[in-house]
């Protein structure tokens, strides 16, 4: 009985994450449009796009792995999300958080991309392996500063449990990791730029270079699943960053906590969106070198600093 209630709560939490992720997508498009001095699509455009892709009458498939690719990707997104406690202290939004969930979440961030690599490769279009190669290399590059930041805060809080890390930041705004360990936050926020894949790190879905990259052969429902995943994955990453570095969303009232969550995640997302709107795209090798240089250095310094000072 316990697990059924837990699943019911998980469905609520996933629905909230999907709706908020898609709304964020709409806000991002609107922001980009305003930077281009356009009016931009309506906020509900991502929802309409998903209904539209799911209402295609035909959908081409290229084999079993092609079916499984988007499913793995969605499993990666859901896996990332389901092990993060969304609202500190809430039962409904607690998800399946447990000891050591931070490691599991870091694994799941990688997992979806690997599944997609298998699936998109079977489409047979030369641009999809090209996009995957770019995506996986960039992922390995930005995973380094992010891991260093995580190691740094794991030493700082002496825990790999996200709930513990959020609990340690409660009380005052000055308890946030942002103020207690700014170097780790710096390294992680730079790697978030790569994770969100906006310019200058939009190597994977680069419509002008490799038309849309990995999902080039995906149509109809396959694409719909990928879009849904993009929304869930975006909110999962943002909630993770909010929990680790910006004090999490904690309030006795769930609705107020949700509003805090929305404000904080929007702020974190806008960081990468505004940088994305102002910079052109890197070439792949420039992007990899960038991640392996400055953010990694900052990450190493933050680990050394937190361990010895």
């Amino acid at each position: 009985m316990d697990i059924i209630i837990k699943i019911f709560y998980a469905v609520i939490s996933i629905t909230v994450a999907t709706v908020w992720g898609l709304t964020l997508g709409g806000i991002v498009r609107k922001t980009y449009a305003r930077v281009h001095k356009r009016i931009g699509p309506p906020l509900i455009q991502p929802f309409l796009d998903i209904i539209q892709t799911h209402s295609r009458r035909e959908t081409i498939t290229h084999g079993v792995m092609f079916y499984l690719g988007p499913v793995f990707r969605l499993a990666g997104g859901l896996g990332t999300y389901l092990f993060i406690p969304v609202i500190f202290g809430s039962v409904v939004f607690g998800n399946f958080s447990m000891a050591g969930d931070l490691l599991l979440v870091m694994y799941f961030i990688f997992f979806g991309q690997l599944g997609m690599a298998l699936g998109a490769g079977e489409g047979g279009h030369p641009y999809s392996p090209l996009g995957i190669a770019r995506g996986l290399s960039q992922m390995s590059a930005f995973e380094l500063p992010f891991s260093l930041a995580v190691i740094s805060i794991a030493i700082q809080y002496n825990s790999l449990n996200i709930t513990d890390i959020v609990a340690a930041q409660q009380g005052s705004i000055l308890n946030w990791t942002l103020f207690t360990n700014p170097l780790a936050v710096m390294a992680a926020m730079i790697s978030l730029l790569g994770m969100n894949m906006h310019s200058p790190f939009s190597l994977v879905l680069a419509p002008q270079e490799i038309p849309i990259g990995p999902p080039i052969e995906m149509s109809g429902s396959f694409l719909g699943i990928l879009q849904t995943n993009r929304a869930i994955f975006a909110s999962a990453k943002l909630v993770l960053f909010m929990n680790l570095f910006f004090g999490g969303a904690a309030h006795p009232n769930v609705l107020i906590a949700l509003i805090i969550l929305m404000i904080k995640t929007l702020g974190i997302y806008m960081f990468s969106v505004l940088i994305g709107a102002s910079f052109p795209r890197f070439r792949p090798e420039q992007s990899f070198r960038f991640f392996l240089k400055w953010p990694t250095l900052i990450g190493i310094i933050s680990v050394l600093f937190i361990a010895y000072f």
């Binding site: 449009a33 309506p42 796009d49 209904i51 539209q52 295609r56 009458r57 419509p207 849309i212 080039i216």
Partner: protein, 213 residues
Amino acid sequence: MENKDIKDIENAMKLANDGLPEKERALFADARPSHIGPANKYLEKFMNWARSRSLWILAFGTGCGATELRPLFTSRFDASRYGIAPRPTPRQASVFVIGGYASIKTIKRIVRSYEQMQGPKYVVALGSCTINGGMYYDSYNTINRIDYYIPVDIYITGCMPRPESLIAGFEKLKENIRAGECDGMNTYADNFDWYKKNQKQIIKDWNMPDYNW
């Protein structure tokens, strides 16, 4: 009917793919496009609403009319506020804008791209060249009427039509989609032989499969 007859009919319905070399024929599908009817009445109405609010244009400029698509997406006319967005691959696009005259070399690519699009798919033909040949009506190298080769949903007249008239055309297309009148995908499937005959008449070097799914 006996089993043998059914098999004969099935074999006769298969596509020959005789433009391809013998050893490559097995690599391509020999199935025809099939007629896929609309879903349940209310569901279809809802889906048509979503389809009309999210038109994904195939970013393939087939003639001089493609010039008009650039200002359409940039800040002056900004088609994205009407839910119109470019999409780089035919698999994901739902609207094909035929930009003006189609040379015989291009019509081959138009047919391939159109067949690769996943239905329901809509075609917007732009400029007088697509209707009757326009200023190229007696050219040895361009086709005169695009709807002999692929089904067209909306024509936008002019030479060239301005981006405003394109937006007006898209609004008309949206109305038709919402009314459930845009069924080019099934028109193509039902009259497949007629379209193929016309296409093969004009494309002399037919070195692609008969249906490019």
